[in-house]
Symmetry: C2
Subunit: 447 residues, 2 copies
Amino acid sequence: MLDEELLVRTLLNHELDLFREEYFNLHPYDRAQFYLRLDPELRERIYEFLSPEEMADIFENLDADDDEYEPILTQMNPQYAADMLSNMYTDDAVDVLNELNKDQVASYLTIMNKTSAQEIKDLLHYEEYTAGSIMTTEFVSIPEHSTVRSAMAILRNKAPSAETIYYTFVINEEQKLSGVVSLRDIITADEDSLIKEIMSDRVVSVSVGQDQEEVARTMKDYDFLALPVVDFQDHLLGIITVDDIMDVLEEEASDDYSKLAGISDMDSRDRTPFGAAKKRLPWLIALLFLGMLTANLIGRFEATLEQVAILAVFIPLIAGMAGNTGTQALAVAIRSIATGDIEDESKWRLILREAGTGLITGTTCGIIVIGIVYVWKSSLFLGLLVGVSILASLIVATIAGSLVPLIMHRFNIDPAVASGPFITTINDIFSILIYFGIATTFMSYLV
Amino acid sequence: MLDEELLVRTLLNHELDLFREEYFNLHPYDRAQFYLRLDPELRERIYEFLSPEEMADIFENLDADDDEYEPILTQMNPQYAADMLSNMYTDDAVDVLNELNKDQVASYLTIMNKTSAQEIKDLLHYEEYTAGSIMTTEFVSIPEHSTVRSAMAILRNKAPSAETIYYTFVINEEQKLSGVVSLRDIITADEDSLIKEIMSDRVVSVSVGQDQEEVARTMKDYDFLALPVVDFQDHLLGIITVDDIMDVLEEEASDDYSKLAGISDMDSRDRTPFGAAKKRLPWLIALLFLGMLTANLIGRFEATLEQVAILAVFIPLIAGMAGNTGTQALAVAIRSIATGDIEDESKWRLILREAGTGLITGTTCGIIVIGIVYVWKSSLFLGLLVGVSILASLIVATIAGSLVPLIMHRFNIDPAVASGPFITTINDIFSILIYFGIATTFMSYLV
């Protein structure tokens, strides 16, 4: 779809008209992708070829990593960057500015068009990851007592600048949100009817401080294309459109996924091993110390080990099974919390269910192990020891896997922080205590 | 928002009018949620109170688990169920029918309205998880040479039955897709201009056999509200709307997440421990056998262990670190494949980068370990043994974590099947081989 070579050649040869002709044949997303892949020197050429308004279009579609914005913006002429920012949809401009430091933001806001600067400042107040931080203020609202004809005129007029005109929110005399009307309803309605008569007053809104993940869930469940954002008195402050919500869904899913794997930030454009190592080392070092604790624990059973070296053979099996079961329970608990299912059923029921699951899986795996070890090592006691340890470890692991995220959720800590590797290591410790505890107690049967 | 008690009371008392009044005050999604939470006996009452058309609305919003549809449908009167299915949007009806067995599907199709049955049959052909399986055939297409006025008349006319009228796809004389025009463009255009003049011919389409995950990515990247689905000759077959895509994004994310945790299907409504155990046991038993392989491997070093029991102390540490690093590398590789980033860079570069990351993290963790073990056990050799084993294990683990999913992707196997626990266990084996290999070779320094 993209003839990149031709575009690059026109850039290098300063063929302005040819470049523009080819470039504007592309879809805005493809324009943004082409721009993002360019070397910094070639990007500088683009700024000579495109107006700040045209660049704003590209930036609205730019899917860059958070830390890519700063170098890109500082490379631009400051006035050009400021003009571009004022031409972007406010929510997108705020997304970009959130990646810069405060001094940079302040200097752009100073040289920017005053109206845009004010709109941006209003949005910058809202905390990241809230409805306020992702909403846009470029929306159309219509008073209840307008006619369909006048509403249509307003929509025609606002169509070029509003983010969406397909859902229009209706406000009453007190400027409070009172309903919603879709363009579908407007074009099929009699032109003389009042908006109040055709609007739906069952309007679902989100409050400005609400978490973006909850907003995304509401939008997905109700199949909305836009959601109104209100303050605590129901005044309409902005709207959130479905395209922003798709990004939120992707971001939150990727975030949960990374944490389950024990990576602080999933960033596949991170092309150097140093960048990747920096993001993974904090987890690994923390786990290393936890692992040392495990080593220390086993060290306390050195006397037992010296007498019965074969015990060591089953350490990875038991620890591994406990770790895997714990991760399963953890994943279920985190998803239940994320999708809101947990509010429907009591937390204790979830934990009890997990313990029950641990009992069933533990019994099954325990029996299999007893059989295998008995056949392999011809020792029923060793089989029983390993089997019973697996049973007990699996029950403890399912309880730990569900209890830890629930406790974190209770204390308003993001439960996804209790990553898979963390729960795995905790369960390693429990399972080894169980295994060596039983072995040491019944030592006489082993030697 | 929901007064469930009142609704249930009206159902129990057969208060038809009161129930309907309250019920239709709810948003369709809330109606569906209420219905889903009802006991089977109360659901039967609802069928007496609501027409099949009204029930169709509820089913379009029903977020039920896959295995819930069958019992719900068999409980309904077959003719009522068939009428309901013919009143649903074709794509939603197909989603429901896909959960039933072939006999059931055939019998519903026989007693259903003929036109709907034909539309459904056409869609049932498409394989699950393809664009064809999620598209709808209720769309509006307009010939290139229509005027804006006549297009508007068509849209007004189709508005009640089409899934969306906000994007209209334009076809040429050969019935091939030639452009797209938004309702925004139509309402702001001069009524006498031709659609051909105002449409965009840079229309992005997906082919009917394309994977739904790719479709979702295209929709998310380009911020579309609807995407046209075409056959290999560019004939317009259907459209996919953004609300279906949000479900796909959620489904795929949840799927990847479950697999990373080693659960075949994330299902939090699974309220019995037996149901949960059934879904987790296949993974656990497979891992148990892999774990036995690890035990067998360590068993081969029993002679070494009998001489130097302290070696056992560090088994969980080394295996754990390798497992965690492998999971990190795995998660990055799977996400890179899922987001399509991997096509941009060569696979070998990803693996090399991961190996580099393993070298850096391994060196860092190795040095820390040498220090701790030296201080704790006053043995430089033991420290070196554990440290070097961690370094080597981490390099192997990052390579295995990225290589395995890439190979699976190459052979068109979903790389997410290479779950976290699977990679963890594989890396347990490698790390133990490395550790005992080195220990046995340099035995003389240990005893």
